[in-house]
């Protein structure tokens, strides 16, 4: 009998459907891989299983009994533990306090029995051959990889029947990742069910008995792992997309390099990125989430400590100052990831949002010229077709798509011709998405150079002139022309190994 059976599971967040029809079944004693693109619903699915969020519809049976955990505690009580990607660890507690958090052995006074806790910690680490950890060290002193290992120990400390590993290998160096894969097999051999999420096909191949593929919030297929090819898996992950959304792509790139980046590194997430973005070009930045895309944009905008060389229009620029300082025609402008937090002042008007950072452009003798400002604002509102009653409407009251247009307007008013667009269509309705893509192509035709990241692969495929695929903080491949396809991007991001 199946240990877990899920049928027709659904979950909405406001108007967004995160999961529409997830079906899943898994047996005790197997490693069951979950595959899918970013946003396919895997995360929501395991969050429901682990009690972090509650589902709206459908049913889950564990051991044939109805399962609807109201919180992570309730999930643990039923023997389900999750090793989260966003770590569930507390920075100010020690390693062992974290491992046993809320399950500490206690004395008659109700206090933590430290000696017993230490003994249990060492026994646990010994049993599963954990990499060296200092039990008494405060968590905030550990590296990301070590934290991930603590998180795994914490999951195992509950002796769960079902263990969920959400991209647990992604933060681990090769050796530790290998250890985890062996551990996963061992856990399955002990009769537990391990639900394993990874974007690394090789790992899934190495340890999974079965796999379930998600797409757009629904299950597309489940396979015995040895009865399906990589190509079939990738095809099922992508499915078919309608591409009416996208404008015609006319190559407008010149030979002039607008932005040249050499050896850009930042922390452990970005290591030695080289590329050249040309005038009139849209260069896509793709790959699986968390492989350095965010860090690349942050480093380029000077928002994080980075090393390497950056040249704008042939001139070297200092790379550790925010590029807001670089306005004007030789500057650089950013559409940030967090629109509501970083890009817009929601309680200010459309006009104020548009002109706040370019106030210099319409001052005369130190005084604001309202006429000049109004003219510029009108020009932008018309050009971008921002649907606002008046320029005085508050930005917070606009739709997501129109808010994004205001940010574009703000960016264009700086007159910078190198544009960094980080997921500019996230949370934007389909119609406006099309307008934004058209706008990007129009700007490219005018000679703007655009670096464009999207978490939605088809956008890269259909809008960018070239796509740079990132893996582990490096450029794994740069795809051009016919080689730009979702399969090509996925293959570069997951399958093809760089020559070692």
């Amino acid at each position: 009998m199946d240990l877990v059976t899920v049928t027709g599971l659904s979950k909405r967040y406001g108007g967004i459907v995160a999961l529409s029809d997830a079906t899943f079944s898994a047996r005790a004693g197997e490693v069951h891989a979950l595959l899918g693109e970013n946003g396919a619903g895997k995360s929501t699915f395991i969050q429901i299983l682990s009690g972090a969020v509650q589902h709206d519809g459908g049913s889950i049976l564990v051991d044939g009994q109805d399962y609807r955990p109201v919180n992570p505690d309730a999930a643990q009580a039923r023997g389900i533990a999750a090793v989260f990607q966003e770590l569930s660890l507390v920075p100010d507690l020690s390693v062992e306090q974290n491992i046993w958090f809320r399950h500490e052995p206690r004395t008659w006074l109700g206090t933590v029995n430290r000696a017993e806790m230490r003994r249990k910690t060492l026994a646990l680490l010994e049993k599963y051959n954990f990499p060296a950890l200092r039990p008494d060290q405060e968590l905030r002193r550990l590296t990301l990889a070590e934290r991930q290992i603590v998180e795994i120990a914490k999951g195992l400390a509950k002796d769960p029947r079902i263990l969920i590993l959400d991209e647990a290998t992604s933060a681990l160096p090769a050796r530790e990742a290998e250890w985890l894969l062996k551990l996963t097999r061992q856990l399955a051999a002990e009769g537990r069910l391990v639900i394993f999420i990874s974007h690394r096909m090789a790992e899934v191949r190495a340890i999974a008995d079965r796999l379930t593929i998600f797409r757009n919030g629904a299950t597309v297929a489940a396979h015995e792992a040895n009865a399906v090819s990589d190509t079939e898996i990738v095809t099922q992950m992508i499915g078919r997309h309608l591409d009416r959304l996208y404008p015609e792509r006319v190559a407008t790139a010149t030979d002039r390099v607008a932005l040249r980046v050499e050896g850009l590194s930042s922390g452990s997430r970005l290591s030695g990125v080289d590329f050249a973005l040309r005038e009139g070009e849209v260069l896509g930045v793709g790959g699986l989430q968390g492989h350095g895309q965010r860090e690349l944009f942050q480093a380029l905008f000077g928002a994080s400590r980075a090393s390497g060389a950056v040249k704008l229009w042939g001139k070297p620029v200092s790379i550790n100052n925010p590029r807001q300082a670089l306005t004007g025609r030789d500057g650089i402008a950013l559409v940030p990831e967090d629109r509501r937090g970083q890009g817009l002042l929601l309680t200010k008007s459309v006009r104020e949002n548009l002109t706040l950072s370019v106030i210099r452009r319409f001052t005369e003798n130190g005084l604001l010229s309202r006429q000049k400002e109004a003219a510029l604002v009108k020009e932008m509102v018309d050009f971008l077709r921002i649907k606002a009653g008046t320029p005085e409407q508050l930005a917070g009251t606009l739709s997501g798509g129109n808010q994004q247009k205001v940010i574009f307007g703000k960016m264009l008013l700086t007159q910078a011709r190198v544009l960094l667009l980080y997921d500019p269509t996230r949370g934007v309705d389909v119609g406006t998405k099309g307008e934004i893509f058209q706008l990007m192509r129009d700007l490219a035709a005018k000679g703007y150079a655009i670096l464009f990241h999207s978490s939605d692969m088809p956008e890269l495929v259909h809008v960018a002139d070239r796509v740079m695929v990132m893996r582990d903080g490096r450029v794994a491949a740069t795809l051009e022309g016919d080689r730009i396809s979702e399969a090509g991007i996925l293959r570069a991001a997951m399958l093809e190994r760089e020559a070692a």
Binding site: N71, P91, L109, A132, K182
Partner: protein, 341 residues
């Protein structure tokens, strides 16, 4: 596909898989406790100056006196420390202290059992009002600052309605409590020890750890199964309870009720904790630091007195000390971070 052989083989611990983080060492530990050590240093300095200007400072009598003077603040700051550890702040303790004193001053009688019942009622009221704060913060998802600002105002108003001006009285045996002695130490000194004992116990309980963990990272705590609502309830409940305790002790010093006195303890309770190294961002700090901070703030008053300068210098000096402590902890924090990365 994994083979059976693979799972059957014994797992080898990768031999050179060493923890990459260095051992902390004494310097790291000292840096970690820098704010606390700075507070100790300040206290030593103040006591030193005070002792050189005034005779009889290094006696049990002086300890008894100063502890009694500091105890109201200490009780209020104990509750505040728990709230700060949770990553919140509780301004309503000002209202609770005022309300506690006016109820005591108007209801306490010479009959011990009636008085004891009212004292218990005040403590219970403190916990319930605090718990309500916690509930409002959780259920309405409001800022602790705003919720407790509102409850402070409400409690203050109620205190005014009960007793519009300073007055009323408490029985003399209640006032005498603060000077009761056991083995040469007065009851406030014993209370100080009890507070430390309470803290040692509380911090090692699951509830205490959950409160600290929630202050350290709320999301992580939630994912680990902590009920944030329950944590808020207990945290602010305890704060209210300690504020009520502070009120009961305060009337042993004043002998009367005051509907406005509580406000004098709101910011000093936060200041004492911060001077003692408790982080305003939650997750870090110990009561020992807070109590030292409370001593520092109290002894500044003594110092200003023996220096024969205007008493208005007291808040000036307190402010400077607060700034110095914040500076010290920020420097230490940066140094510690530099060592980690």
């Amino acid at each position: 596909m994994a083979s059976a052989e693979q799972t059957g083989e014994t797992m080898q611990r990768p031999a050179d898989m060493k923890s990459t983080t260095p051992a902390i060492g004494w310097r790291g530990r000292a840096l970690d406790r820098a704010p606390f050590l700075v507070a100790c240093l300040m206290l030593a300095l103040i006591v030193g100056i005070y002792g050189s200007l005034q005779s009889g400072v290094f006696t049990l009598d002086e300890l008894n006196l100063d502890t009694a003077a500091a105890m109201t603040l200490m009780l209020a700051a104990t509750g505040q420390t728990i709230v700060l550890l949770r990553g919140g702040i509780d301004l309503s303790i000002g209202g609770m202290i005022s309300l506690g004193t006016v109820i005591a001053a108007t209801r306490f009688t010479d009959d011990p059992s009636t008085t004891a019942l009212w004292a218990l009622a005040i403590l219970a009221l403190g916990f319930v009002i605090g718990a309500l704060n916690g509930l409002l913060i959780s259920l309405l998802k409001l800022q602790p600052f705003l919720v407790t600002l509102a409850t402070w105002s409400i409690l203050n108003g109620v205190a005014m309605i009960i007793l519009p001006t300073d007055g009323g009285s408490v029985p003399s045996w209640w006032v005498g409590f603060a000077s009761t002695q056991l083995f040469g130490l007065t009851s406030p000194v014993w209370m100080l020890l009890v507070l430390l004992l309470f803290w040692w116990w509380f911090r090692a309980t699951r509830v205490g750890i959950s409160i600290q963990a929630t202050g350290s990272n709320e999301k992580s705590a939630f994912l680990s199964g902590v009920s944030i609502t329950r944590v808020n309830l207990v945290t602010y409940g305890l704060s209210g309870l300690f504020a009520a305790g502070a009120a009961l002790f305060l009337v042993t010093q004043t002998g009367a009720g005051s509907p406005t006195i509580g406000k004098d303890y709101i910011l000093p309770s936060v200041a004492a904790a911060v001077i003692g190294g408790v982080s305003l961002f939650g997750g870090r700090g110990h009561l020992a630091g807070t109590l030292i901070g409370a001593f520092v703030l109290t002894l500044i008053g003594n110092l200003v007195f023996v220096l024969h300068v205007s008493s208005y210098w007291q808040p000036v000096a307190s402010g400077v000390i607060l700034l110095l402590s914040v500076l010290a902890s920020s420097v230490a924090e940066k140094a510690a971070r530099g060592r980690v990365q």
